[in-house]
Symmetry: C2
Subunit: 265 residues, 2 copies
């Protein structure tokens, strides 16, 4: 499973300040810390109020790729910012994100196809986030059809079922898991992703809920997790889950992490 | 999900000693502690070397049902012990267990049908424990066919895919989970159960592995878990999993456990 570090996100105030001030040292440190903690890719988001996101995202890409040698997830709602960041990016990035929103889909899909990127595709559309797994699957189908029609491979499409907090509704997590199950069954070629920091938001033992949800998503077939990689207990659950799911031959990585003192229970 | 307390098991030496010595106070305390911790049923096993299991199991049933008001899981390899315990048991017990072993199946299935019990059915046969989920499903099918032919309802059959330690093979847990997935798909009417204390046996952070495995089994559709209910972290994972899986309307029980200080992360 791909592990995407979520922390270079300008909606986090310290990061937003660093992006506005072009504080390269702060961002570089955050990039290195996440890669050291096990991130395979890093999400970069420059969407901070009162700043130019187009320039900001391109700057982030430049700074982060000088600090660490991993591909990035270009995270913006602004197609112009994505386009500028794409020009700066070395290697093959992910685009975060398209959705069923018509304008976004029509603008971004050709750009993604031209640049042979992978893409995170959110199960929402112009009417918002559907309540049922079936309706979310319908949006997934729409996105996959349009993307593959333009030449994007199914395995480059990472469907995000959308994962809301249990605080928004006690059925929220179940709907996300059921959407994942449906996608796994109905669209076996595409990948599944999701942000794993929302489920517990506003709940007691927030991070425990996030960890358990992640393990459940992994058994359903999560292909990429967007997470706080600096959360050692969460990373421990990933190690344990990989061992349990037979993705860690001879449990070598699990034992290695244990010997290195990296498992935190 | 049904929670079965596993601790009144004579293969645990202190329990075996208590059974041999007919130490009622010890057993009663163990029964109450498990019910207080959240057990819906209690497994009782009197299979201790050098003692009469037939008398021992009947004694256990009597003692435990005087101490707590829950049905029991009569756990024995000896049909005579099961038969004697059945006569002593009030209410509707589970029988633990049948398997694909021909003699056991032929002896126990009529007894279970006559007494309208539920039954735990292990995916092993006279050749041992199969390595593949498909072969375990085949044994499940055989057991379900024979049991339903004698009048046992599918929903009274709890298939145990058998859960071995990761120490016995790094693929062991995956085989169990895949067997559960197959059973859920191919035998939608039967229930799924399993002992949740084996996966981590002999591994670092044994109990963490057990907890994560349990959460994964729950999302696949585990109907009854045989566990150490006195493990607070494990019970916390069950509370969290029920909340995540939409089995705890308004997360009421989760919040209640939190307020009572019963969640241990």
């Amino acid at each position: 499973m791909l592990i995407v570090g979520e922390s270079i996100n300008s909606t986090i105030s310290a990061v937003g300040e660093a992006v506005k001030a072009r504080n390269a040292a702060f961002i570089e440190e955050l990039a290195r810390a996440q890669v050291d903690a096990g991130a395979h890719m890093l999400d970069v988001n420059a969407g901070v109020a009162g700043a130019d996101e187009v320039e900001g995202l391109a700057w982030l890409v430049d700074i982060v790729q000088k600090a660490v040698d991993v591909p990035l997830v270009l995270d913006s709602a602004d197609p112009e910012a994505i386009e500028a960041a794409l020009k700066m990016h070395k290697g093959r990035p992910f685009i975060n994100s398209i959705s069923g929103e018509k304008q976004k889909l029509d603008t971004l899909v050709p750009l993604i196809a031209d640049n042979a990127c992978s893409v995170i595709a959110l199960c929402l559309d112009d009417k918002g986030i559907p309540e049922t797994p079936e309706a979310r699957l319908e949006i997934a189908n729409l996105m996959v059809n349009q993307a593959t029609a333009e030449g994007i491979s199914p395995e480059d499409i990472y469907i995000d079922p959308l994962i809301l907090s249990l605080g928004t509704g006690w059925n929220a997590a179940k709907v996300s898991l059921d959407t994942m199950k449906l996608i796994r069954r109905e669209l076996p070629e595409v990948c599944i992703t999701g942000g794993m920091s929302n489920v517990g938001f506003g709940m007691p033992n927030r991070r425990l809920l996030n960890r358990i949800f992640l393990a459940m998503a992994m058994v359903i077939g999560l292909d990429a997790a967007v997470i706080d990689v600096r959360d050692k207990k969460l990373m421990t659950v990933i190690h344990a889950s990989n061992a349990i799911l037979g993705k860690d031959p001879y449990c070598k990585l699990y034992f290695k992490a244990h010997r290195a003192g990296n498992l935190e229970v």
